[in-house]
């Protein structure tokens, strides 16, 4: 067995990635692993003597992927060398926490890396993260908003941008419940920036006194918990991918805030969201889990004329410059914002 002392580590990203992939792809393929195309950074381990690839670990933003070591180096500390470097890369890049998905059988390996399990679906997948302290701090901060004995509802919104459809959903929840927690998706990949979306949601629900708007986080519909949500090719999203996010909500966020109902709109247009609702219901309520079930209430989508109101329709109208039509679909605060930011051109 070769000692891990004879290993040289390197980090490849950006322009260097393409040529490195020529070496990585066959290395992973030989070990029945697919090379994830979204990886932006690879830590590579080569033998110092003859520069053979001995192991790799990739980062897709804050998610560690494609971890693999060559057979001759198992048990030789190589995995911990890779771990140190890939964790340093992730934290240096500015991420507060790092995540990874793994087969149930590999949990032990990654526990050795200092990762802890957030949720696991036995026989399928486990979702782990690095900074348990940061996560506990986040949950603790949420707990400050908890109201004992109150009927508590919750809604997770991307609100790109906030429409009358969103407004209707929040209003209904606000009427049903004593208190409603709204979480905004933090990921900044939408037409409207996270900060703008947050501002418009806050303005749009300001009159509803029992509604609290929370900032998004890595732990709720994020690149880490639900990568499929942000994919262009939404048909590729499978059940497992959204199960983790649903279980995160049920196990941690709902208990912290005493949430017993989650509200979503029915989805006649968008396939991902439609499938997401089905899976969401299963993992929030019927799936066996040691956390209390959360009821999923699907409300009929609000319509304007014959069509349902959707944020994607609003974005199309912005593109077409049809501001009059937008006016009917969004609250005044959202309309003002769109007019101000999109009419110069």
């Amino acid at each position: 067995m070769t000692s891990s002392d004879d290993i040289t580590l390197s980090v490849v990203k950006g322009a260097g990635l393409q040529s490195a992939l020529a070496e990585i792809r066959p290395f992973l393929a030989a070990r029945d692993l697919q090379t994830d195309e979204n990886i932006d950074t690879f830590v590579l381990a080569h033998t110092t003597a003859d520069h053979r690839l001995a192991g790799c670990a990739g980062l897709d933003q804050n998610v560690i992927k494609c971890v693999c070591t060559s057979e001759e180096f198992r048990d030789a500390g190589l995995s911990l060398k890779l771990a140190t470097e890939v964790i340093k890369c992730g934290l240096t890049a500015g991420y507060d926490d790092l995540f990874l998905y793994t087969k149930y059988s590999n949990i032990r390996l990654f526990r050795g890396w200092g990762f802890s399990t957030l949720v696991e679906i036995p026989g399928a997948v486990a979702f782990l993260h690095y900074d348990q302290a940061a996560f506990e701090h986040y949950i603790e901060a949420l707990r400050a908003f908890r109201k004992e004995g109150a009927l508590t509802g919750s809604i997770v919104l991307n609100a790109n941008p906030f429409t009358n459809g969103h407004r209707y959903l929040v209003e209904q929840a606000s009427k049903d419940c004593d208190i409603v927690h709204i979480f905004l998706v933090k990921e900044d990949v939408s037409l409207f920036s996270y900060q703008d979306r947050l501002t418009l949601v806050r303005k749009g629900v300001a009159d509803l006194k029992n509604v609290i708007v929370h900032e998004g986080s890595d732990y709720i519909i994020s690149h880490a918990t639900f990568p499929g949500y942000f994919l262009k090719d939404r048909a590729a999203v499978n059940e497992q991918a959204s199960a983790v996010d649903a279980l995160m909500f049920r196990r941690y966020i709902a208990p912290a805030l005493n949430v017993s109902v989650r509200y979503v709109g029915t989805e006649p247009l968008d396939k991902t969201t439609a499938m997401y609702n089905v899976v969401l219901r299963k993992f929030l309520s019927t799936y066996p889990c040691d956390s209390k079930p959360v009821e999923l209430k699907e409300l009929e989508r609000k319509t304007c004329g014959t069509a349902v109101i959707s944020a994607s329709r609003v974005r199309e109208l912005i593109k077409a410059g049809n501001f009059e039509a937008i006016k009917e679909l969004v609250p005044p605060s959202t309309f003002e914002f769109i007019r101000r930011t999109h009419t110069q051109s």
Binding site: G77, K81, T84, K88, T92, G94, W113, G114, A133, H137
Partner: protein, 98 residues
């Protein structure tokens, strides 16, 4: 020293420790420790960390420590190095000789 950025030192390899020191809005030390030998040495490790932070004059910081069975001197060294990096301080004052 004032912690102004994330500073890391150490590794996850056996007998070493990975220390991440980051800024903290509050003026206190938020320490999280994971150790293979928490049961036997948890208190000694915490003492080594807090003494080292005090020696460096750090009063506000988040400190994440992943211990893989490091000796006391290694823990002190890694915390020190992470603090200097987190404070972006290049001019190291090594203490008096033993």
């Amino acid at each position: 020293m004032k912690v102004i950025q994330k500073g890391m030192a150490g590794t996850l390899e056996s007998s070493d420790v990975l220390v991440v020191v980051s800024p903290n809005d509050a003026d206190d030390i938020k320490l999280s420790l994971q150790s293979k030998v928490e049961k036997q040495y948890g208190n000694a490790i915490r003492k080594a960390i807090s003494e080292t932070l005090a020696k460096c004059g750090v009063t506000g910081a988040k400190v994440d420590v992943r211990d893989q069975g490091a000796l006391d001197c290694v823990i002190r060294a890694r915390v020190e190095a992470a603090v200097y990096r987190a404070a972006d301080e290049k001019n190291v004052k090594f203490g008096g000789q033993s």
